[in-house]
């Protein structure tokens, strides 16, 4: 247990009659990238802010780096980096000056130029923060979260608003944190981001953890039915198919627990009739499919 960086037991937070977080357990281990997913209003931000020491909990036990964030002091803050969901650059300061200011807040800050280089802002070091693009501002935020050389870093939706290439670049930065031995607590709305970066994922919905696992196993994903789809060739009748499936707009969809043998049955059937199925597609459920299933509200 001593390699647990974050442990949360029976954490709950009530706002009046509303229970935003309804008794959750979490454990984040040293050196892993832990993705915390959930729809807006599910209790995600509340939980993160309790872990960051910005909010007080109603009940339960929380330990972050062995300390209760509610009474954490400067020592603890020296070991934790925080990239908030929304924060503007320091007004009137360049990228380098921002980092110099924040470096002065920590006991053992990282090298400023190296930190600027890690987030890919070397060419913008002398630019005023307010003149940066949205993606560059976010990278400055990440640099400010790293400057104290923290053991644990919270990244709250670090790539929201990025274009695809900027997102890839950011993944490189975040993946690099693992190489540096940092523990990362990541929240994101992008499932491909979680899939690419996370060692483990927890999903919160309605204030409860509804699933926890690796990107491959989350919510029983590895055991879920695959989906075989193809367009029915001209002249073939859906009723002749050897397997039952749904058919919409000439496209057949078959849910399959035994994808390999089912594909063979369909292939044998098509070949026997001299038919081709050029757009045959076999797909395992994506992380996003699993996530949407897990977080679907009672509607």
């Amino acid at each position: 247990m001593d390699d647990a960086v974050i442990t949360v037991q029976a954490l709950s937070k009530r706002y009046g009659a509303v229970e935003a977080v309804a008794g959750i357990d979490l454990e984040v281990r040293r050196g892993e990238i832990f993705a915390f997913l959930g729809p807006n209003g599910a209790g995600k931000t509340t939980t993160v802010e309790i872990l960051e020491g910005f909010r007080r909990r109603s009940s339960g036990d929380v330990r972050v780096l062995g300390v209760d964030p509610e009474d954490a002091g400067a020592d603890w803050r020296n070991r934790v980096g925080t990239v908030l969901q929304e924060s503007a650059p320091e007004p009137g300061l360049t990228v380098r000056e921002c980092l110099q200011l924040y470096a002065g807040y920590y006991d053992t800050p990282r090298d400023i130029d190296e930190t600027i280089a890690i987030v890919g802002l070397a060419e913008k070091a002398e630019t005023l923060g307010e003149h940066l693009s949205g993606g560059q501002r976010r990278r400055l935020d990440v640099a400010l979260g790293l400057i104290g050389d923290p053991e644990l870093i919270f990244l709250d939706e670090p790539t929201t608003g990025f274009d695809p290439s900027a997102r890839r670049a950011a993944w490189g930065v975040i993946g690099g944190l693992r190489e540096l031995g940092k523990t990362v607590f990541l929240t994101t709305h992008y499932m491909d981001e979680a899939e690419n970066l996370a060692d483990r994922i927890a999903v919160i919905a309605d204030g409860r953890i509804v699933a926890e696992g690796t990107p491959r196993t989350l919510g029983g994903r590895e055991r879920m039915a695959a989906r075989i789809t193809f367009t029915l060739p001209a002249g073939a009748d859906a009723r002749e198919l050897p397997l039952s499936g749904a058919s919409a707009n000439g496209r057949v969809v078959i849910e399959s627990d035994r994808a390999l043998s089912d594909v063979k049955i369909i292939a044998d059937w098509a070949l026997a009739r001299g038919l081709d199925l050029p757009d045959l597609d076999v797909r395992r459920p994506s992380l996003e499919d699993v996530y949407l299933q897990l977080t679907r509200g009672p509607e």
């Binding site: 020592d75 929304e86 300061l93 924040y102 002065g104 920590y106 400010l144």
Partner: protein, 253 residues
């Protein structure tokens, strides 16, 4: 650590065009305009030259512009944009952030006052106070600290940065008029002067007027004015300690 924060706060302050205009340029403009209006004749209760009257009056305005007006607007903006919250996520103690910002206000106030003084001396022949320098400096510093405390207190009732500018101006402009900053308050009806007596603007202006009055001897300190300023500072501090938040107010609902 305070000096570290002060250095960057001051740098940010000086790079902001709005801050520069309202705290550095505008007081100088006011001085020139008001002295011109009154033709540098003798005015006011002590019958001093207009320039001798307006240098300390506008100096009081400069102190307030640099500490109160600018602080309320910039701190509210920093709070709402998440800058303050991000700073609080670091090990830096809260009091360092507050003291660094207050020091910026004090430094700006003293610099502007020096400039006003020099303009007064060389353009209008205002006699530089020598024996009363301690009074000038101490009154200005106490004034700056007071208005910083009041500034922090006021941010607690302002929802967002859009509301900051009109709120602070609506509060301070009438006080400038009734506190002898724009017009000598002997011209005001008694009841209005009584109202002004309650507020700190009047006492900062009066303290500085007294220190600049050629008839004043000694250190130029008016303890009653300092006393009222300190009371207001304490009240502001209590409200600020009780209500001040580092996290955005408008966003959370």
């Amino acid at each position: 650590m305070i000096l570290h924060q002060f250095r960057y706060d001051l740098m940010a302050f000086l790079r902001n065009r709005q801050s520069r205009f309202f705290t550095l340029v505008l007081p100088i403009l006011f001085l020139v305009i008001f002295v011109s209006v009154f033709g540098n004749h003798e005015i006011g209760p002590q019958n001093v030259k207009a320039s001798t009257y307006y240098v300390p009056g506008i100096a009081a305005l400069a102190v307030i512009a640099g500490s109160f007006v600018n602080l309320v607007i910039s701190v509210t903006a920093q709070r709402e944009s998440g800058v303050l919250k991000r700073r609080r996520a670091t090990p830096v103690p809260a009091w360092v952030l507050i003291a660094g910002r207050a020091l910026t206000a004090i430094a700006v106030a003293l610099v502007v006052m020096t400039i006003l003084l020099l303009i007064g001396r060389f353009a209008y022949g205002v006699k530089l106070p020598t024996s009363t320098i301690p009074g000038v400096v101490l009154t200005a510093v106490v004034g700056a600290v007071t208005f910083c405390c009041l500034g922090y207190a006021l941010t607690t009732v302002i929802k967002d940065e859009d509301a900051a500018q009109p709120t602070v101006q609506a509060l301070i402009l009438p006080l400038y008029f009734i506190s002898g900053i724009f017009i000598p308050n002997v011209n005001l009806p008694t009841w209005l002067r009584d109202v002004a007596e309650v507020f700190p603007v009047q006492h900062l202006a009066d303290g500085l007027h007294h220190a600049f009055d050629p008839a004043t001897h000694g250190a130029g300190l008016v303890w009653s004015d300092i006393g009222v300023l300190v009371l207001w500072a304490a009240a502001g501090l209590v409200v600020a300690l009780w209500r001040f938040t580092w996290t955005p107010v408008a966003a959370t609902g």
